[in-house]
């Protein structure tokens, strides 16, 4: 079989918004969707300074745990029409990002169990030569989180906490992403 080597990654650079902006891309679901909420947070560098030229990109299942518009179509779509599960948010001058979405359902772990509700996240920025990957989990899913194979694979609660978004009191969630430093976010190699 042919084996070709992959094209190398490069940084998005400081002017990523020219090419990667889509109208309302931060709305994973339309405003007013039942159960929808904002996930917000800041993207921070190793000095704790905001990263104003970053992109947070998310991919998730629908509330029934289906990837309705995915390839291959592994299960029938159950999330209603129009739910793509893909979102993009540029960070602002204060490093802030925000995505309007709904909580994904649980997805099988491929080994007879279940994963806790989660979003897969790519972070791009000037100064990142390759995307970095994390997951966003939800603090109010404690029981599911405690059985999640990915969270369980992490060394300690401090590491897990870097991936768990906390309710912010107005129905939304908050999670800061720290690229570097004492409280560096856990990033994954996929």
């Amino acid at each position: 079989m042919t084996t070709l080597l992959s094209t190398p990654s490069q940084t998005v650079g400081p002017f990523l918004s020219i090419g990667l902006t889509w109208e309302r891309a931060e709305y994973v679901v339309p405003e007013g969707t039942p159960g929808s909420f904002w996930i917000r947070g800041r993207l921070l560098d190793g000095a704790g300074e905001p990263v104003p030229d970053g992109l947070i990109e998310t991919w998730q299942a629908d509330p029934y745990g289906n990837f309705g518009l995915s390839v291959p179509p592994v299960r029938p779509a159950g999330g209603g029409s129009g739910f793509g599960g893909f979102g993009r948010a540029m960070t602002g001058p204060d490093g802030q990002y925000g995505l309007l979405t709904v909580k994904p359902g649980r997805v099988t772990d491929g080994a007879g169990g279940w994963q806790a509700p989660h979003l897969d996240v790519s972070v791009f920025a000037r100064g990142l030569l390759h995307r970095v990957v994390l997951r966003i989990y939800f603090a109010d899913e404690a029981e599911a989180n405690s059985a999640d194979p990915v969270l369980c694979s992490l060394p300690d609660d401090a590491a897990r906490a870097t991936l768990v978004a906390r309710p912010n009191g107005d129905g939304g969630y908050i999670l800061d992403i720290r690229l570097q430093g004492d409280r560096e976010t856990v990033f994954f190699a996929v």
Partner: protein, 244 residues
């Protein structure tokens, strides 16, 4: 309590890891912006499950034919050398990736981006926004018409200049295949001093350089450059007697 695995789950595709020497190290101190932004802890292995091996599918209405022609949409043509950039989006097994989103952005012919934070004294072009997008066809092919971007100075080190380049964003078929890169032009004399180009291990750098194509050059119209983009190929499916 055990739960049965949906048959489709067992048949999910998996994507093989790129060998060492493919991508730049996140911490590449010659590129100064990496120093405070590169994570310093080793990444944790994330086995590929459903979320990692699926990805968005982009419908027909998403892009228009004109979105792939950066020389149109304004009163006049942009200044500069008109070029065609075309190629195929394929995976590491040589298979085309059809109906997949390709996004590009670039500086104008003078080396200036249309962006609030680009303020070096080269002229903006009122007829050029530097943004293009398209879906690959059934054979994974894409083509853009644009102008050759100019080189430009930046503050990384004394007398630092970025070689001419076009930013490419690829979604592939799955979250795992997602890639952002830059396409360079052949024989650029600025390669040697550019820490972003040189952050990639030497043997892999030529995979970021387009090739001039007389075949695709359109007579009396535009020079053409070929740039094939390779995303991660499939992991060979392991034989599992439990599931066969």
């Amino acid at each position: 309590m055990s739960m049965s695995i949906p048959p489709a789950e067992a048949a999910l595709p998996r994507f093989r890891r790129d060998p060492a020497g493919t991508h730049p190290p996140l911490l590449s101190p010659d590129y100064r912006s990496t120093r405070l932004r590169a994570p310093l802890k080793a990444p944790v292995d994330l086995p590929q499950r459903m979320t990692e091996v699926t990805g968005p599918v982009f419908g027909d209405g998403l892009v228009h034919a004109d979105d792939a022609d950066l020389t149109r949409g304004y009163a006049e043509e942009p200044a500069g050398q008109r070029i065609i950039v075309c190629g195929r989006l394929i995976d590491g097994d040589g298979r085309p990736i059809p109906r997949s989103l390709v996004e590009i952005w670039q500086a104008n012919a003078a080396g200036r981006y249309r962006h609030d934070r680009d303020n070096w004294p080269a002229p903006l072009d009122p007829n050029f926004d530097g943004m293009g997008r398209t879906l690959t066809d059934d054979e994974g092919r894409y083509a853009f018409t644009t102008v050759k971007p100019g080189a430009y100075p930046w503050k990384n080190h004394h007398n630092a200049w970025r070689p001419a380049h076009i930013h490419f964003s690829l979604c592939g078929r799955s979250f795992t295949q997602r890639l952002v890169t830059q396409m360079y032009f052949p024989d650029d004399p600025l390669f040697g001093q550019d820490p972003i180009f040189n952050s990639v291990p030497q043997a892999a750098r030529n995979r970021m350089i387009a090739a001039f194509s007389l075949t695709d050059t359109r007579p009396d119209w535009a020079l053409a450059f070929n740039f094939d983009i390779v995303l991660r190929g499939s992991e060979a499916t392991p034989f599992d007697p439990e599931r066969s």
